[in-house]
Structure formats: structure tokens, C-alpha cells
């Protein structure tokens, strides 16, 4: 509809409008391209200058940063070297906890963290300012020592210059993460105010290579002032300048406003442009130059109108600095603006001209179209008499002619249709009466049978007769059912569905009579079991005309049967689910019943047990069976007798049993019954309790001794100190050729020996575990064997090593355990000194899961003469020795005892019957997790143990027996 009016123009008019249109398009295009190209060129050169400026400033910062990093790393290496030169190993004393309160990230509250005490030799690193001061002085940087906390964070425990300690990094902190994973950390200071300082951290390792802390150095950033001087001399355009701020908007370097926070500064349109710059800079990241333009009024120059400003900026991430330089755009674009304004005016004038031309042309074209629209509107309202005036022969003229023809055709069609149809209805109802031929006499006889119900019904089930007995059984009244109801009302829906009637018909035809038990239904819907007998009525032609049914209610009988069955099942369930074994026999001792628990207990199935003689499961066989029977015949009943039975696999179980006679109604004995309770576990517990109590007494005795020894050692130290010091003074004072000098030197040696003994005694009584960690028990064993290997070889001792691999880890000290094993190996060697042949040392390790908590066991066995019985309880006491004076202090085994006790374990001595002694060191598996794991691994095995795993010695069983049975 846009093109037709245009087409209708005279050729000249069409040409004029097209030309005007083309002129306008080209005018706009040319003016736009020329201004934009000119602007772009101008803009590029100005922007490039700004960009070079900020890029150069960025490179300066980066250079300085790289230099500081290098300095930090080299200082760290120097400081660490000095630190490691200090005497002694680094060790973390896990038993001695340091407690710190550290602030939670971004909160008021504090959190309690703990760390082991860190030592270098005898030096405690915690708050040790003298050590760190010295290192800092030599290395020329600030130093600090951090400790690894128990939750894998880092806490500052010492620093030079008396600065405060206690800075804390939690495990999520980047520094803590690097250090714990063993890497050097190099980066910016964590401290907000010294963000541009460079810090370097290096892990501190203990003697075993475990990371226990970190050493750190800090390099101060001093050179900001030089950067500031350069920056202040920079001018951009006429009024522009450069400045540096951090990502919070704090001005770090600025010609006039240094130190101010400008994050919320708004441009003249109210837009927070600094904030936008910061967000953009952080988004784009380190080294990317961005641009921002914003309107700005400078009130200090008395400006009223905003002028457009442009800034270039770049983010220097390491120091979190945004470097920016900017100026007024008009200082760059002045000439561009003039050109733009001129072109704009020309284009506007052209557009106005073209507009007026188009309007006047369209006015000429739209006249005939408006008329056509008006006619159509009238037609829609129902007036079909209107016609269009045709003015021209162009497309609009043709349209008008066709339109007029169409209106005429619509007036041509009308018509009507009508129709009616009716139908009739009909009815047909046929009913039949049935004949009936039963005498009243017969009825009265039938009615007198009240225990039985008699029902007569025809081949289709219609009830024809219903006796008094039937009324009593079914609850229906005769007058309500005869000729009115079908026999189906007494039969279950299910039975109807499977066509019980034709079933009856089939049976009665073949056999004459059909007797069956089925569920029937009373008037009220109640179901009951019934016994029914059906005979067929047959007419002279041999066809079945109906049935006679005799029904009897058997619900009482059924109820009794059910109760009996339930009682029996109830009793059987109780016996089967009992955890105690239940068994009955006849008078000859043949097994007549066993329950499930007894099957489990013996491991023999019920089928195999039944009809066997009961003595087959008794430990003492037929003899025991006779005793039991004789006892029962006399006293009829026995309770809590303890005896032994044996399993299919020959293992014996201790049981406590209750026995009694079984009698029939007349009180005559018909058999015996027994209830067996498995008390194997109980027996084991009793045994373990006894052993544990003995161990406890032993342990407390040793502890008391330990405390006494520690006290004595401590008391000796003061006079010893005085003695040593005075001797030193005297030796310094006397001339070199003093006749008694040798004797004084001897006293000095005595003092040294006393000191060694005291140190040894302290070791024996030491309560702390200095270097406990997760270890495999095989490590200290291997170490001890390696140390003693040559010695054993030269004494002609053959070593058998049987170390189990894949043992769970224990918590312990490799050094201390090594000392224990070395001691036990040396003892074994000494024990075999006197024998001539077959000197063998058997060292083995394995896991024992029988204990409540799994234990790792190390066994050291020799083939020597063994330990005399009378010494067995004394060997762990301090100063007990069988060696000649001077060969042993008598402290070795007591030291071992103390160490193993500290590990939560114990030492057992077993004298081998054949030859030699065995020392068994038992140490608990590290944690409950592992304990649980190894338990589940063997859970099946454990369950069986209740029956077959534990040997009950004959003595223990007979000793506890209460009476002979």
C-alpha cells in the first residue's frame, strides 16, 4: 500500500522525488564519514600519548617490584642459613601445646588454636627474640619465625625489633598452603598498611623432614618517593596530570590530594567514575590499559558548565595500584568540534528541505485511497447501495471497478430448510410360573432336623425349599427366600465366579452325591466353613431338574484346629529364636529336638543331630551323658551347671546349662530337656580381667619408682652443679704443675659420670614424648637390627627376621622404640653368650586383632637359657641386673618398660618351654579409624571365634565346675 500511490505519480513527479531521496542519503553518508575519520585520527594520537605515559609508569613499578622480590629471596636464603647453623636439631614437641587466641577473619571473636612447642636444640623458638634479633642484624632485613599450628595454619611466634607477634594464617591462606606443601612463598605483605612490602617465607623442617613452621623475611618498600617526584613533573596537554591510587580509592601519589580517598568522587552528571575505573581495572587485571571519559566541572577555576575529560589507567596487581593519567578532551578535540558543527548545520537544512517536498507529493497521492476506505466502512455497516467513483485508469481505477462488481453479487443468495421425524415405542413382557410338588409331610420332617440345613433349588439355582435348620444356619427366613432368591446368596462371590454350581452339577451327574467343604455366607454377610452334601433331582427323562443340599456349620471344629496350630507355632517360634541352645532327648538319650541356637553352637545341622545320642556333643562323651541322666533321675532338675560341649570341628565351648525331666500326662518320665548358654566369652573376659589387674599393679609400681627416681635426680643436680663449678674455679687457680691436679681431674670425671647417670635416670622417668608421630613399627626394628647386625654376626648369632608388611601405623617415637629394640636385642645376645651352639635370634612383627583394640606386636626371641622363674617379676625394676658389676646399670629394661608404657603398650615375657626367652612388645594401633577398619575386615572371623577360636583349657573348665553331674 506504500508503493501504489507512488506509482500513480506522473513520470516527472516520480523522478523528482527519487532524486531528492538519493541526494539526502549521499549527503548524510559523506558528512558522517568525514567527521568520524578526522576525529578518529585526532583521538588516536592523543590517546596513544596518554597510553604510553601510563604504560611507562607501570613498567617503573614493575621493575622496582622485581628487584625487591629478588632481594627478599636472597635475604631469606641468608637468614635461613644462619638459622640452621644454630646448634641442635629442630623438633616439634607434640606433647607440649602452646595456646593462642587468634582473631577470626573479619570478626570480633577470636579462635583458640594450638601448636606444638618448637625447639632448635635446647632453644625454645617461642618468643625467642635474642636469636631472631641476631639473624635479622646479620641478614639486614626484618625476620620472623612462624609455627605450624595443629590445624595446619601458621602462627607468628618470634620476630625481631620487638614487634608484636601472633599474626595468624589459617589453612586456607595462600601463604599457609604454600608452606605446608613445602614451597617457598614470595609475595606482598599480609599487613594492610605495608602492602607494598615484599615478604618471603620458607618452610622449616624438623629432623625427619616434616614441616613444622616457616621462616620469613620482609623487604621494605622505600622508593615510592622517587616515583612521586617523577609523577609530579608529568603534564598532560595544558592541564592534565598523572596520579596513583590503590584499589580502595586511596590516593597514594597525587599532585595535591595525596592521602585522600576519592572512591566516591562523582562527575558532574553524578556518576561515580572513580568507582567505575576501579571495578574495570580489577576486572581487566594486571597490565591492561583502559580508558574512561566523563564530564567534569572544576569549581576552583570558576567553571559553570561541565567539560569532557578523558583518563587512561592501568592496574599494577602486585601492589594493588591503579596508575592513571588524564586531561580535558576539548584540549585535544577543539578543531574537530568546529568542523562537526558546520557539517551538522548543512545536513539539518537539507533534511528539512527534503521533508517538505515529500509531504506535498504524498498529499496529491492519498485522495482516491481515502474515498475507497470510506465506502468500505459504510458497506460493513449494511449499506450495500454505495458505489465507488472511478477517477483514473491506473491500479487504483481497476480496484474501484472490481469492488463495485463484488457488492452486487453478495445481494443474490437466501434460503430455508425444515424437517420432522417421529417414532413409536413398544413393550413385551413374558413371565412364567413354575410348578411345585412337595408334600407338607416331607417338609415337616425336614424342618425337624435343626443341626442340618436342607435347601432345594432348581437347575438355575432358584431356591424352592428352605428348612428350619437352614434358617438357623443361614439366618434367612423361609418366606423371604423361597421362589424369591437364588442359592447364590449363600455362596461367596469368588465361588460364584468360578461357577461352583456347574461344578456341583458335573459331580452329582457322575457320582450321584457330591460332598465338599466350602465357605458359605449368612444373611448378614458373615462367612463360615460348612460341610455340604448335594444330590441331584432327576426327572423321568433323566434330565437334572434341581438339587437337594444338606449343609452343616463346622466353624467350631475349625476354630479349635486353628488354636491348636497357633499355640504350637508360638512355642516353636520362642524356642527357635532363643539365643540359648535348647535340646530334648528321650529316656535313652536320643536327641528328639534341637533349636537354631543349638545348631549354631555345635555347628551341626538339625537333621544330623536328631536321633543321634546326646553324648556325641559332650566333651566327655558317654560318661558325661550317664552322669547327667543319673543326676536328673535323682533330683529331677539342675540349674547353672557348667560343662563343656564340642563343636563339629572339635573345638570346645564352655556352657552353663539348666536341665530337667520331661513328663507325660500321667507324670511318667519320657525324656530330658536342656537349655545351653554359651559362656566362652565370659570365661575369656574373666581371664583378661585377671591379667589386666595384674598389669595395673605392675604399672603403678613402676610409676611410683619412676617418680622417686626423677625426684632424686633433680635433687642431685644442685650440689652437682656447685661441685662442678667450684672444681672449675679451683683448676683455674692452681698452677699447672700442682701435685694434686690429677686427683682433681679425677673428681671432675666422677662428676661427669654422676651427670650421665642422672641424665639416664631422667630419661627413665620422662613423661613427655618429644617426637611422637605416625610410624611403621618395622622402621625402628630395622634400625635396631642394622645397628646391632655386626655385633650379632661376630657373636655367631643367626638372625631370623619375620616382619609383617602392611601393618597399620602406630603413634610413637622412632628413636625411643629403636632404643627399646636395641636393648632387647642386646639382652638376648648377652643371654646366649654362655651357650655353645644354635645361637638364634628371631625377630618378628605382626598384628593381633584378638585384643579389644588391635595391637601391633613385636616379638624378640632367643635360644638362650631363658629367665629363671623367680626373676620374672623383677626384671623391669630399676637397678635389677644379673650381669656382673660394671657391665650393666640395671636400667635398660626399666627404661624399655617406661617407653612402651608411654606408647600406651606393654611388654610381656614368655619363657619358651623348649629353650630361650621371648620378649613381646605390644603397641596399640594408631587410631580408632584403623581399629574399626581391621575389625570389619575380620568380622566374620570374629563371630566364629565365639565357638572355635578360643581354646578353653581343661583346667579352667573343671576348676570352675560347681558339682559333678
Amino acid at each position: 500500500m506504500i508503493i501504489p500511490p507512488f506509482k500513480n505519480l506522473k513520470i516527472r513527479a516520480k523522478l523528482v522525488s527519487v532524486t531528492l531521496f538519493m541526494v539526502m542519503i549521499s549527503l548524510l553518508t559523506v558528512s558522517f564519514l568525514s567527521t568520524s575519520q578526522f576525529g578518529k585520527a585526532l583521538r588516536n594520537s592523543a590517546e596513544e600519548d596518554l597510553e604510553h605515559l601510563v604504560t611507562n609508569l607501570y613498567s617503573m613499578c614493575k621493575l622496582q617490584y622485581d628487584m625487591m622480590n629478588e632481594m627478599a629471596l636472597s635475604s631469606l636464603n641468608v637468614a635461613i642459613k644462619i638459622f640452621y647453623q644454630e646448634e641442635g636439631d629442630i623438633q616439634a614437641i607434640r606433647d607440649h601445646k602452646l595456646h593462642f587466641d587468634v582473631p577470626l577473619q573479619g570478626k570480633e571473636e577470636t579462635q583458640a588454636v594450638t601448636a606444638p612447642l618448637l625447639k632448635k636444640g635446647d632453644l625454645i623458638l617461642y618468643k625467642n627474640t635474642s636469636l631472631i634479633d641476631r639473624i635479622a642484624r646479620i641478614a639486614g632485613v626484618n625476620c620472623a619465625i612462624f609455627q605450624r599450628t595443629d590445624n595446619d595454619g601458621l602462627i607468628e611466634v618470634a620476630t625481631n625489633e620487638k614487634q608484636s607477634v601472633g599474626a595468624y594464617f589459617d589453612r586456607e591462606n595462600t601463604i599457609a598452603k604454600s608452606i605446608i606443601s613445602g614451597r617457598i612463598f614470595l609475595g606482598n605483605s599480609y599487613n594492610e598498611s605495608d602492602k607494598r612490602d615484599i615478604v618471603a617465607y620458607k618452610p622449616i623442617k624438623d629432623g625427619n623432614g616434616g614441616i613444622v613452621g616457616a621462616f620469613s623475611v620482609t623487604v621494605k618498600e622505600h622508593q615510592a618517593s622517587s616515583l612521586r617526584d617523577i609523577l609530579k613533573n608529568i603534564k598532560v596537554g595544558k592541564t592534565g596530570y598523572a596520579y596513583i591510587m590503590d584499589s580502595n580509592g586511596n590516593l597514594k601519589i597525587h599532585p595535591v590530594k595525596e592521602g585522600d580517598n576519592i572512591r566516591d568522587t562523582k562527575d558532574s552528571s553524578g556518576f561515580k567514575y572513580i568507582d567505575a575505573m576501579i571495578i574495570e581495572a580489577l576486572n581487566r587485571g594486571d597490565g591492561f590499559v583502559s580508558t574512561i571519559r566523563y564530564p567534569w566541572i572544576n569549581p576552583e577555576l570558576g567553571e559553570k558548565k561541565p567539560r569532557q575529560k578523558m583518563s587512561k589507567y592501568v592496574y599494577f596487581e602486585p601492589w594493588d595500584l591503579i596508575i592513571s593519567a588524564g586531561t580535558y578532551e576539548e584540549e585535544i578535540y577543539k578543531s574537530l568540534y568546529t568542523t562537526k558543527r558546520f557539517i551538522f548545520i548543512i545536513v539539518m537544512l537539507s533534511i528539512i528541505l527534503v521533508f517538505f517536498l515529500t509531504v506535498s507529493i504524498s498529499k496529491v497521492l492519498t485522495g482516491p485511497i481515502r474515498e475507497l476506505t470510506e465506502i468500505t466502512t459504510k458497506m460493513v455497516e449494511g449499506d450495500l447501495s454505495q458505489r465507488v467513483t472511478v477517477y483514473s485508469s491506473d491500479e487504483i481505477g481497476v480496484l474501484g471497478t472490481s469492488f463495485n462488481r463484488m457488492i452486487g453479487q453478495i445481494q443474490h443468495y437466501t434460503s430455508n430448510l425444515e424437517r420432522m421425524v417421529e417414532e413409536r415405542t413398544r413393550e413385551l413382557k413374558v413371565s412364567r410360573e413354575k410348578y411345585r410338588d412337595l408334600s407338607l409331610f416331607l417338609n415337616s420332617i425336614l424342618d425337624s432336623a435343626t443341626e442340618y440345613g436342607i435347601i432345594v433349588f432348581d437347575y438355575h439355582g432358584s431356591i424352592m425349599e428352605f428348612t428350619k435348620g437352614a434358617e438357623k444356619i443361614f439366618g434367612w427366613k423361609k418366606e423371604d427366600v423361597v421362589n424369591k432368591q437364588n442359592i447364590d446368596i449363600t455362596i461367596l462371590n469368588n465361588d460364584q465366579a468360578r461357577d461352583v454350581l456347574s461344578d456341583i452339577a458335573k459331580h452329582t451327574r457322575s457320582a450321584g452325591v457330591y460332598e465338599l467343604e466350602m465357605t458359605r455366607v449368612r444373611e448378614r454377610g458373615e462367612k463360615f466353613p460348612a460341610l455340604t452334601t448335594v444330590t441331584a433331582m432327576i426327572d423321568p427323562s433323566g434330565a437334572t431338574t434341581g438339587f437337594v443340599e444338606i449343609v452343616r456349620d463346622i466353624s467350631r471344629r475349625k476354630n479349635l484346629e486353628k488354636q491348636l496350630r497357633e499355640t504350637k507355632e508360638f512355642l516353636e517360634n520362642i524356642m527357635q529364636s532363643s539365643v540359648d541352645g535348647i535340646i530334648t532327648t528321650d529316656m535313652k538319650g536320643k536327641i528328639t529336638y534341637v533349636n537354631k541356637a543349638l545348631e549354631d553352637m555345635t555347628g551341626i545341622s538339625r537333621d544330623k543331630l536328631l536321633n543321634q545320642h546326646v553324648s556325641t556333643i559332650y566333651v566327655r562323651g558317654i560318661l558325661q551323658a550317664r552322669e547327667v541322666m543319673a543326676f536328673l533321675k535323682e533330683s529331677k532338675r539342675a540349674e547353672n551347671y557348667e560343662m563343656g560341649i564340642k563343636r563339629k570341628d572339635g573345638k570346645k565351648i564352655a556352657i552353663s546349662t539348666s536341665l530337667f525331666m520331661l513328663r507325660d500326662e500321667d507324670g511318667k518320665d519320657i525324656g530330658t530337656a536342656g537349655i545351653f548358654k554359651d559362656i566362652t566369652e565370659q570365661k575369656i573376659l574373666e581371664y583378661k580381667l585377671k591379667a589386666a589387674r595384674a598389669r595395673l599393679i605392675e604399672t603403678s609400681k613402676m610409676r611410683a619408682l619412676g617418680e622417686l627416681v626423677a625426684g632424686v635426680a633433680h635433687e642431685i643436680n644442685n650440689p652437682l652443679m656447685a661441685s662442678k663449678t667450684l672444681l672449675h674455679v679451683i683448676l683455674n687457680n692452681i698452677p699447672e704443675d700442682w701435685p694434686e691436679r690429677d686427683r682433681l681431674e679425677l673428681i671432675n670425671k666422677c662428676n661427669d659420670r654422676i651427670e650421665k647417670i642422672v641424665e639416664h635416670l631422667r630419661g627413665f622417668s620422662r613423661q613427655t614424648d618429644s617426637d611422637f608421630q605416625k610410624i611403621n613399627i618395622n622402621t625402628p626394628i630395622e634400625n635396631a637390627l642394622m645397628l646391632s647386625g655386626q655385633h650379632l654376626l661376630s657373636n655367631n648369632i643367626i638372625v631370623h627376621k619375620k616382619l609383617s608388611q602392611n601393618l597399620p601405623e602406630i603413634n610413637g617415637s622412632v628413636n625411643q622404640l629403636e632404643q627399646v629394640f636395641l636393648n632387647l636385642i642386646t639382652n638376648a645376645k648377652d643371654a646366649m653368650d654362655e651357650i655353645g651352639d644354635k645361637k638364634e635370634l628371631i625377630v618378628s612383627s605382626y598384628l593381633d586383632r584378638e585384643e579389644t583394640n588391635p595391637m601391633v606386636i613385636v616379638s624378640i626371641r632367643d635360644t638362650g637359657p631363658g629367665i629363671p622363674e623367680k626373676y620374672l617379676h623383677k626384671v623391669f625394676e630399676p637397678f635389677f641386673t644379673t650381669k656382673v658389676v660394671g657391665k650393666g646399670t640395671g636400667l635398660g629394661l626399666s627404661l624399655c618398660f617406661g617407653i612402651i608404657e608411654n606408647h600406651g603398650g606393654r611388654i610381656e615375657i614368655v619363657n619358651k618351654k623348649s629353650r630361650g626367652a621371648e620378649f613381646r612388645v605390644l603397641i596399640p594401633v594408631m587410631n580408632k579409624e584403623l581399629a574399626r577398619r581391621s575389625e570389619t575386615e575380620t568380622s566374620t572371623g570374629k563371630k566364629q571365634n565365639a565357638y572355635k577360636g578360643i581354646e578353653i583349657t581343661p583346667q579352667s573348665m573343671h576348676g570352675d565346675k560347681k558339682g559333678e553331674i
Binding site: H96, Y126, K127, S130, N718, K724, H728
Partner: protein
């Protein structure tokens, strides 16, 4: 040059005599006292270059004395060295927390003691 002044506090007479003799021989000016209260009196009268403390003493123990020294006006900055028969880690930590600079255990060899004292005095 002025001799360095050292205060020794120990309730054990023998230790006091012995260490006194040892230090005097090296040219130090030594004040031996046998209790905390005597020590405080001495410390109030003048400044020392080093203070050596025993831990177990009647009335006031070494830790308490050390804390008091750190609050005093006169000898707040003076290095404090513990010299005690105690040598468990918990004692060492308690010593550092009380403000000591060094913790030494008895018996210590006289040579080692002298070299540590000379290091600490700088």
C-alpha cells in the same frame, strides 16, 4: 672500662658460692642473693647487665620474680637467664612466657655457662 654487673638469685647456698666464684674469676662484678625479696631490693638500688635466676625458691619463685623484674623501672630491659635444675619443656616455656631471654639447665659445664653469659652481654 666498667665491669659488667651480674645479679645471681639462688636459694642453694652451694650453687650461689660456686657461681659467684666462677663469675668473679672472669672479672664480672657479682651480687649473689638467696631470695626474691633480697633480689628486688638489690634491683631497686641499681642497674645490672644480667640477672640469673633459680626457679624453685621459698616465698617467691623464679617465674614470679622474673615477671616482677619486667614491671620494674630500673631493670626492665636487663637480660634474664634462668639457671635451674628443672629441665622439662613446660618449665622452659613458662620461663620464656615470664619474660626471660634464656633458659639453662643445671648442671651446665662452667665453660659453656661463661660463653653463654659473654654472648648475652654482647
Amino acid at each position: 672500662m666498667m665491669n659488667k654487673r651480674i645479679l645471681i638469685v639462688d636459694d642453694d647456698e652451694m650453687v650461689l658460692i660456686a657461681v659467684n666464684e666462677l663469675l668473679k674469676q672472669e672479672g664480672y662484678e657479682v651480687d649473689p642473693v638467696s631470695s626474691g625479696s633480697e633480689a628486688i631490693e638489690k634491683l631497686g638500688q641499681g642497674t645490672y647487665d644480667l640477672i640469673m635466676l633459680d626457679i624453685i625458691m621459698p616465698e617467691m619463685d623464679g617465674f614470679e620474680l622474673c615477671r616482677k623484674i619486667r614491671e620494674m623501672d630500673t631493670n626492665k630491659e636487663t637480660p634474664v637467664v634462668f639457671l635451674s635444675a628443672k629441665n622439662q619443656d613446660k618449665d622452659r616455656v613458662a620461663g620464656m612466657e615470664a619474660g626471660a631471654n634464656l633458659f639453662l639447665s643445671k648442671p651446665i659445664s662452667p665453660d659453656k655457662l661463661l660463653s653463654i653469659i659473654s654472648d648475652t652481654l654482647g
